[in-house]
Amino acid sequence: MRWDFSSVLANSDALLVGLVGTLRLFAICLVLGLGLGLVVGLGRYARRKWLYLPATAFVEFFRNTPVLVQILWFYFALPILVPFEISPLAAASLGISLNSAAFSAEIYRAGIQSIERGQWDAARALGMRWGQAMRRIILPQAIKRMLPALTNRAIEIFKMSTLASAVAYVELLQQGKLIASLNFNPIEAYTTVAVIFFVLLWPLVQFTYWMERRLKRDE
């Protein structure tokens, strides 16, 4: 068995297109997932039942079903209910974003709950409303504690982006598949794709380890 990466290198344009696709999907899902997660997380923290119950149902449903099933549902099932086409990018973005929103909601909730009652009481005593106290006092402190878990979520989102290849969205793995089938070089093609993911994500993983250690030391 001889490894020969020249046929992969010759297709580096295709991989670059795939990388752009991966990064685009990642950016969309990161913003939507973590943004919506904050809304849902606040809903989970709320005392009012009409906020708490839907938020909880959302979190439980999306945490307890596989994300690939969610993507395929949005791709194959949703178009029947809505009067417009669902593109592979839209289906993948919906699935991964909602899934990540459910997971990050629990991170936000745990982070907010970890802030001592005294901080709330002091903020209220100064005359702040709930929203002000949350925005100016609680969230800034909670974010620091949530950062390692949120970065972890970002890494998970990056890894999940490969699932978009199941609906033929053009991303790194999809392009790897294409190169492998055109050049009959699955070993080199898939190894290259794996190495690209490792090189991109490894520094981020080390960064979360470092943040976790620092947070442990600080507290």
């Binding site: 449903f61 079903t65 690939l68 099933v69 209910l81 199941a166 793995l173 598949k177 070993i187 993983v205």
Partner: protein, 225 residues
């Protein structure tokens, strides 16, 4: 207005049942191999000898950092050409998910073992146990209790990850959904039913896990993640 009709989907219930059985099969096989392999990786990782701990650390990092679907494709499409053996979808899935979950389990085992106080080791060694005896009889039994919540969480993650086998044409529950949707031209009903089956099974396991976790927490044991 779309007319929902679930009857054609339920007419294919044997496919759904077989799919669910296959999903559980991949999960159970990968889980048991992953636990054994994970303990081995953790012990290697903890070894004071660098030529043992570094390769173990490398395997753990690679499998935790790369996407599971890339790993699965690599084991299914690339590995058979390297080693020259046929790979069935089931074998590729079990190999991939075993090593992948082993990498996660290894970190749980390691954190659990490290969390046991030095005194336990010293006590065991003082009454004449060898390192291995101390590990097996004193340290691991205490560590495992602390690790249970993290194991359960990982096992549930694993079950969700097994849906990836549908992409290499193993007939799991998700693959059955694709199949039935094409046969009945009812993708909306099919994928909705399959999503609900997954939810019922996985949520059921989650509730069991939470109950067990609370029971353990009452016992006053610390947990590791």
């Amino acid at each position: 207005m779309y007319q929902w009709d679930f009857a054609p989907v339920f007419a294919h219930w044997p496919l759904l049942a077989q799919g669910l059985v296959n999903t559980l099969k991949v999960t159970a096989l990968s889980l048991s191999c992953g636990l054994v392999l994970g303990l081995m990786l953790a012990l290697l990782r903890l070894s004071p000898r660098r030529w043992l701990s570094w390769p173990a650390g490398f395997v753990i990092e690679v499998f935790r950092t790369t996407p599971p679907l890339v790993q699965l494709f690599w084991f299914f499409f690339a590995l058979p050409l390297i080693v020259g053996v046929e790979m069935t979808p089931l074998l590729a899935a079990v190999v991939t998910f075993s090593i992948q979950s082993a990498a996660f389990f290894a970190e749980v085992f390691r954190a659990g073992i490290v969390s046991i106080e030095r005194g336990q080791w010293e006590g065991a060694l003082a009454i004449g146990m060898s390192h291995r005896q101390a590990l097996r009889r004193i340290v691991l039994p205490q560590a495992v209790t602390r690790m249970i919540p993290a194991f359960l969480e990982r096992a549930i993650e694993l079950m969700k990850t097994t849906t990836l086998v549908a992409t290499i044409a193993y007939a799991d529950l998700l693959f059955a959904a694709n199949d039935i949707a094409q046969k009945t031209f009812r993708p909306l009903e099919t994928f909705t039913v399959v999503a609900l089956i997954y939810f019922v099974v996985i949520f059921g396991f989650s509730l069991l896990a939470r109950r067990l976790e609370r029971r353990l927490a009452v016992g006053g044991e610390a947990t590791v993640h």
